[in-house]
């Protein structure tokens, strides 16, 4: 492989009927920050390439350039209006491998170009699947739910990848993802197989899907210039048999937005799940609050009555990167340790009170008040005190 075979970062833009989803500009912002640094470090001129598929979407180019894209590849076609995984996967792969597109991005490397160096997708109901199928077609690796990215030269000594020898992998994308416990950060690398005794294989693009909200967009610059490439996709007639019959927005099963207070609970309920959840239910009722949960609770880790399980231990109540982002006036975290995944979902709350038996619990750093003790002891006392002060605090 030569350095010229794999170039640029391609960012797959998401929109609904031409309205950009926030994650699109967040991914572009992070790509811009990484590549400003990349081009200085490696003395190169590789590009941030925004890729957008749809119909009547040409007006998006300006916004994407203002937000950091050097190049925008637009695939505008009536059959791309509906997001159908099979069709979009094929079109993305076509434009990733297209020599004419490569020549328009960077004429000097058009002949050498094989595939993008990196690709970013969103970790949502569109990008999660699209990234998987695109990488299955492009035959490369993917990390999911990434919230930190670093590009560096790494010395690797791996039984399979390098046959136990030390080798330098240049321009490697370190993709960080938080594991399901919320406490471990795993770094995923997508590396070529350079083991002569096994198969030698090149894996590009190094790609990931990125958690919405993990990165910030850059400040838009109306003076930025960019290159717009109009790509003519080839659509398989057979794929047009897949049809979207209807599409409608629905209210979420759990409404957080119209409540001024949200009470969230986590693994701290474990001593007596049924009893503790009923207690939290009464507490929330008194405060006219909605009830949320931390991610582990949605996995039915505790046995409780069917009514409690079906009402509370459900994904729709999860607050955090795997669920909803909330911003109530008051958030009360009961028995929640404060894993990063949860904190990112509640950190915009105006005031935060946490109830936890561990004074060193990470939730402390995201709280205005940390009340130390067992929830079983504290909540009844709070209820009693609220009832005394109720004329002051009741807010409809």
């Amino acid at each position: 492989m030569t350095e010229e075979n794999y170039r640029h970062v391609y960012v797959i833009i998401e929109h609904i009927d031409g309205n950009l989803l926030p994650v699109s500009l967040e991914m572009l912002g992070e790509a811009r920050r990484l590549f400003d640094n990349f081009n200085i470090t490696y003395g190169s001129k590789e590009k941030v390439v925004a890729v957008v598929l749809g119909h009547n979407i040409k007006n998006l180019s300006k916004t994407l350039i203002e937000h950091g894209a050097d190049t925008v590849i637009i695939a505008d076609h009536p059959n791309l209006h509906d997001l159908i995984n099979k069709i979009h996967t094929k079109v993305i792969c076509q434009l990733c491998l297209d020599k004419e597109v490569a020549a328009k991005i960077e004429p000097s490397y058009a002949l050498e170009f094989k595939k993008p160096r990196y690709m970013f997708f969103a970790a949502d109901s569109i990008g999660r699947h699209l990234s998987s199928t695109v990488m299955a077609e492009l035959d490369s690796g993917l990390a999911s739910d990434v919230n930190r990215l670093v590009i560096s030269d790494l010395e690797i000594n791996h039984q399979i990848k390098t046959g136990g020898k030390r080798m330098i992998y240049k321009k490697t994308l370190e993709m960080y993802r938080v594991d399901f416990s919320g406490f471990l950060w795993t770094t995923i690398l997508c590396l070529d197989n350079n083991n002569e005794k096994l198969s030698i294989r090149e894996y590009s693009p190094q790609s990931c899907n990125i958690i919405p909200g993990a990165f910030q967009p850059i400040k838009p610059d109306p003076q930025r210039n960019g290159n717009i490439i109009d790509f003519k996709p080839k659509i398989d007639e057979d794929d047009l048999k897949i049809k979207i019959l209807s599409q409608k927005f629905v209210e979420s099963e759990v409404d957080f937005d119209s409540y001024r207070t949200v009470v969230g609970f986590g693994r701290g309920i474990q001593e007596s799940p049924d009893k503790n959840i009923k207690m939290i239910e009464e507490f929330a009722k008194l405060l006219n609050a909605q009830i949320g949960i931390s991610l582990p609770i949605s996995k039915n880790v505790f046995s409780a009555s069917p009514a409690i399980t079906s009402n509370y231990m459900i994904p729709a109540r999860v607050i955090g990167t795997s669920g909803r982002k909330i911003s109530p006036m008051l958030y009360i975290a009961v028995g929640i340790s404060g894993a990063m995944q949860h904190v990112s979902g509640m950190e915009d709350s105006q005031f935060v009170i946490s109830i936890n038996s561990d004074e060193n619990s990470p939730i402390k750093d995201a709280s205005d008040i940390l009340l130390i003790g067992r929830m079983e002891d504290i909540i009844p006392k709070l209820v009693e005190e609220i009832q005394k002060q109720q004329p002051i605090i009741r807010v409809k």
Binding site: I16, L21, V23, K86, T89, D124, S125, I126, R128, H129, S131, S132, T133, M135, A136, E137, D139, G141, L142, L154, I160, D179, F180, S181, T187, I188, C190, L198, S199, R201, P212, I242, K243, I244, V250, E251, P273, K299, N300, F302, S303, A316, M329, L330, S337, A339, Q350, F351, S354, K364, D365, I369, L371, I378, L382, E385, Q389, I392, I393, V395
Partner: protein, 292 residues
């Protein structure tokens, strides 16, 4: 021949339920002490297949890539779906596979099942890996249309099409319910909120009959179990396990403590004055009197 041929791919995962899960002192999962079982999302995929068994008389084959201990997950999946055949794909060569290396094995496994598949089901994502990548990657390798986040479905046996409802969750807009029609075969990653519903008495009675049959069959699940190693599957050794995996886990570290975004007042829950102080703060917060 059954009117509909269905495969379900399932995963043997750490059992996160109370009493079975074990944590290290730092809050991370103790994998050695934690038992394994049929993953909860895999169970929902098996339930989705059961719907087709009752409604369309489907034939169901279930496959998993794992060690031999996973046979109890296959047994549970059989009991849930009333499956006709169980398949275990087990070989040291499969160890260390990332999602694409896993998808390659499962694609080959589905190829070993009897007849051409009309629908393949998988769970939404594994509880431990949580990538959600394996399902769509198997679909792509099989050349099947992929439908993710499916909350309900029905098949038109004459037209050989499926109509499925999908629940899309995109940050920044309300949830979307999409109804999609596609010709068979399809690969469905079933949404966690999926629940089957039988709308006629005859279907409900049939469901009871199939549940009894499933329970009895699962007692003798070994009679229905087939095992395959890499060679028997006919899988390309360079495409499976660590050798066939583009990605590696380079490092695992504790998530560094983030910068404190708030400066918490630490209060004692057994101190009545501190309880009063907390309730006063609740009142102020809800009156928007707190100036941050």
């Amino acid at each position: 021949m059954a009117p509909l041929n269905i495969a379900v791919v399932v995963k043997f995962e750490p059992d996160l339920t109370e009493g079975n899960i074990s944590y290290n002192s730092d809050g991370t999962l103790n994998r050695n002490q934690t038992k394994n079982t049929l993953g909860p999302h895999s169970k929902i995929a098996a339930q989705a297949a059961f719907y087709a068994k009752v409604k369309y008389g489907a034939r169901i084959s279930i496959g998993t890539m794992s060690g031999h201990a996973a046979t109890n997950a296959l047994q549970l999946a059989m009991q849930t779906s009333d499956a006709d055949v169980l398949q275990l794909y087990s070989d040291p060569k499969f160890a260390g596979a990332d999602t694409i290396g896993t998808a390659e094995v499962l694609k080959n496994g589905i190829g070993k099942m009897e007849g051409k598949m009309d629908i393949v089901f998988s769970g939404h994502r594994a509880t431990d890996g949580e990538t959600g990548q394996v399902g769509p990657q198997i679909a792509w390798k099989l050349g099947f249309t992929f439908l993710g986040n499916v909350i309900s479905y029905d098949v038109n046996l004459e037209k050989r099409t499926i109509i499925a409802k999908r629940l899309l969750n995109l940050r920044g807009v309300p949830e979307i319910i999409q109804e999609v029609e596609a010709p068979l075969p399809v690969f469905i990653a079933i949404d966690p909120s999926y629940k089957y519903y039988f709308d006629t008495v005859s279907l409900r009675l049939a469901a009871e009959k199939y549940k009894r049959e499933a329970f009895e069959r699962a007692q003798n699940y070994k009679d229905y179990l087939q095992s395959f190693n890499c060679q028997e599957l006919g899988a390309d050794e360079t495409l499976v396990g660590l050798v066939g995996s583009p990605t590696i886990v380079y490092d695992v570290q504790r998530v560094p403590k983030g910068k404190a975004t708030r400066n918490a007042a630490v209060l004692d829950g057994s101190n009545p004055e501190h309880i009063r102080q907390t309730v006063k703060a609740i009142g102020e917060a809800l009156s928007a009197m707190v100036i941050k």
